[in-house]
């Protein structure tokens, strides 16, 4: 099975975003970066499928040139080769522009399976995978918590709302978005890191792929959400705190 997995490099989750001078995006110059956590689960699932059924895992990322380190991480964990589409505008690209870029790189490769994470920890559109399926003319299934490949049929379990699940089947080639928590993500070994240095990493630009980066959703302003509430802190010993809280919930908030 030829499996493509899409990986995004994002600012680390514990980093507090700083605004750029224009106030319409972040200044990520000093931000520590990491592999988008939901994508790490997609990568792990790709590696497990390859180990069970054979084939190849290709890690593809659309980002700045620094995103090469995220692809190297995937190669160290066991991916066979990487494709980096690099452009300084890619981190701020909207979901459609990102998916168009990825599609242009993936389409000529005719993969059997494309995996993505659920959403990114930065822009959080939660769309690139599904759009990519449309652009590649592949069937898709989202929020996947279990994958079984039987020949060219994928037997899947999807997470629905409110504790419900659904079984779905689809034939390859197909695209799946993977739900976080589906597996336990592996660490790269020292041997893996060493091997990764020799694995191929192909670099392209959107121009070379014939893609114009053009955001249709324009962020006119980025800002810290206003603190909407003035918290009333209840003081004293636990019994006093409890008495005050019940009083306030009954008579001020009127929710009891």
């Amino acid at each position: 099975m030829k499996i493509f997995v899409c990986l995004k490099q994002v600012p680390a989750r514990d980093w507090t975003p700083e605004l750029n001078d224009g106030g319409d995006w972040i200044d990520a110059e000093d931000a520590p970066v990491e592999m988008n956590e939901p994508d790490a689960y997609a990568l792990e699932e790709a590696l497990r499928l390859k180990e069970a059924h054979g084939g190849e895992v290709v890690a593809v990322s659309a980002g700045t040139q620094e995103a090469a380190s995220t692809i190297r991480e995937a190669l160290a964990k066991g991916a066979d080769r990487g494709i980096l589409i690099e452009d300084e505008h890619l981190p701020a690209a909207d979901a459609l522009a990102t998916a168009r870029t990825l599609a242009a790189a993936i389409a000529p490769e005719s993969p059997d399976l494309v995996l993505t994470g659920l959403q990114s920890d930065d822009a959080g559109y939660g769309q690139a995978g599904v759009i990519l399926a449309e652009l590649l003319d592949l069937p898709h299934a989202t929020l996947i918590v279990e994958v079984q490949a039987e020949g060219s049929t994928l037997k899947l379990k999807r997470e629905l709302e409110a504790g419900w699940f659904q079984r779905v089947e689809v034939d390859t080639p197909a695209l799946l978005t993977i739900q976080s928590g589906i597996n336990k993500v592996r660490y790269a070994t020292l041997m893996g890191i060493k091997k990764a240095r020799k694995k191929p990493l192909d670099r392209k630009t959107p121009e070379e792929l014939g893609v114009t980066l053009d955001n249709m959703q324009t962020i006119t302003r980025l800002y810290t959400p206003a603190k909407s509430k003035q918290t009333v802190f209840l003081k004293g010993a636990p019994a006093e705190q409890a008495a005050q809280l019940v009083e306030k919930l009954r008579h001020d908030a009127r929710v009891l």
Binding site: P11, T16, P17, I26, D94, A95, L96, A99, D122, A123, G124, Y125, G126, Q127, V130, I131, A133, E134, P139, H140, T142, L143, E161, A162, G163, W164, F165, Q166, R167, E169, V170, D171, S180, G181, Q217, T218, I219, T220, L222, Y223, T224, P225, K227, S228, K229, T231, V232, F233, L234, P238, A239, Q241, A242, A243, L245, V246, L249, A253, V255, L256
Partner: protein, 323 residues
């Protein structure tokens, strides 16, 4: 110029509750843009359910029913809604940000070659144009977003009040949309829907929720929170780590990967307030946070804060309520 609101039917037949939140959002946007608002209902029983939608203040309701759409698939939904959009030519398509919408709306928008502004928490109109507010960086930032031309917009759970969807003076006219769907376009074979746990819990319908986080420390302590929930006549819920550890079933999980709730009272015990949790409960009317750590981010959105040991505070609360 018009606004189209896409509703969602549950597999069990009735409307998904978030449909009404989307209707409210669409009505408010339509009023601000001075644009008519149409509703669409799609799937098995759509014709039957259309009456309820037509009771809302809408300029029309479109019904799409077809054997190929009886069981939801992204392929079927996309084909059907593409036909509706071509017919009605709206400027804005509003959808509820449900799991189902996340599954097909990006595809629908991409097929139209248009953007989907997902997970919108607020909308307003400036100089005749819509501005959508969505959160980035896990809620640490808000963005004002504008779109030139047709925009698809999904609204975050709890950001608009479903009970504020205005009723119309008279029922909106209902029309049936005739579509041709070649069954072979549907490539995913939907199967059985099931719950792994008993599944009697609908957190979204609860008026009071007592929720536990890592601070509860041990599964043996869950009954303490459960007792408080019972006394308050509420449901017990949890943050993701508690469900991942198997201390409570997944269906009781509140947050970005669980349920989004907006009860009258949300009482959080030992939950620090990571954004993945906060997005699922910040729409609650009254939020109480109990936490040992006074710098817990949840205190930023709490109406009432109790800095203290939950193992002392909760028994005191139980005693107070039993008085």
């Amino acid at each position: 110029m018009s606004v189209l609101v896409v509703t969602e039917l549950e597999a069990t037949g009735g409307f998904h509750k978030m449909s009404w939140e989307a209707v409210t959002a669409a009505q408010q946007l339509g009023a601000a843009l001075a644009a008519p608002v149409h509703g669409v209902v799609i799937g098995r029983n759509a014709a039957e359910q259309a009456q309820e939608l037509a009771g809302k203040r809408l300029d029309g309701v479109s019904v799409v029913q077809h054997a190929a759409l009886d069981d939801y698939t992204a392929d079927g939904h996309t084909a059907a809604l593409t036909a509706v959009i071509e017919q009605l030519a709206p400027q804005v398509v509003v959808l509820p940000h449900t799991y189902q919408v996340r599954d097909f709306a990006p595809k629908l928008a991409a097929r139209a070659g248009r953007p989907l502004v997902s997970d919108v928490v607020e909308m307003r109109v400036e100089d005749g144009s819509a501005v959508y507010v969505r959160q980035l960086f896990q809620g640490k930032m808000n963005a004002d977003v504008s779109v030139d031309g047709l925009a698809f917009v999904s609204v975050q759970s709890g950001s608009f009040r479903g009970d504020q969807a205005a009723a119309g003076d008279s029922p909106a006219p209902i029309s049936s949309v005739e579509i041709e769907i070649d069954p072979s376009i549907i490539r995913v074979r939907p199967g059985e829907r099931f719950q792994e746990s008993k599944g009697e819990v609908d957190l979204t319908a609860a008026e009071i929720i007592v929720s536990v986080g890592r601070g509860i420390k041990d599964p043996e302590n869950i009954p303490l929170a459960e007792k408080l929930a019972e006394l308050l006549g509420g449901e017990l819920a949890a943050s993701r780590p508690i469900c991942d550890s198997g201390w409570l079933p997944l269906e009781r999980q509140v947050g970005s990967s669980g349920q989004s709730v907006a009860p009258k009272l949300y009482l959080a015990l030992g939950i620090s307030g990571a954004i993945q949790h906060v997005v699922g409960m910040k729409g609650s009317q009254t939020i109480v946070a109990v936490n040992k750590d006074e710098s817990a981010p949840l205190f930023e959105i709490a109406d009432y804060g109790v800095v203290g040991d939950l193992f002392e505070v909760v028994p005191a609360l139980i005693a107070e309520l039993e008085k």
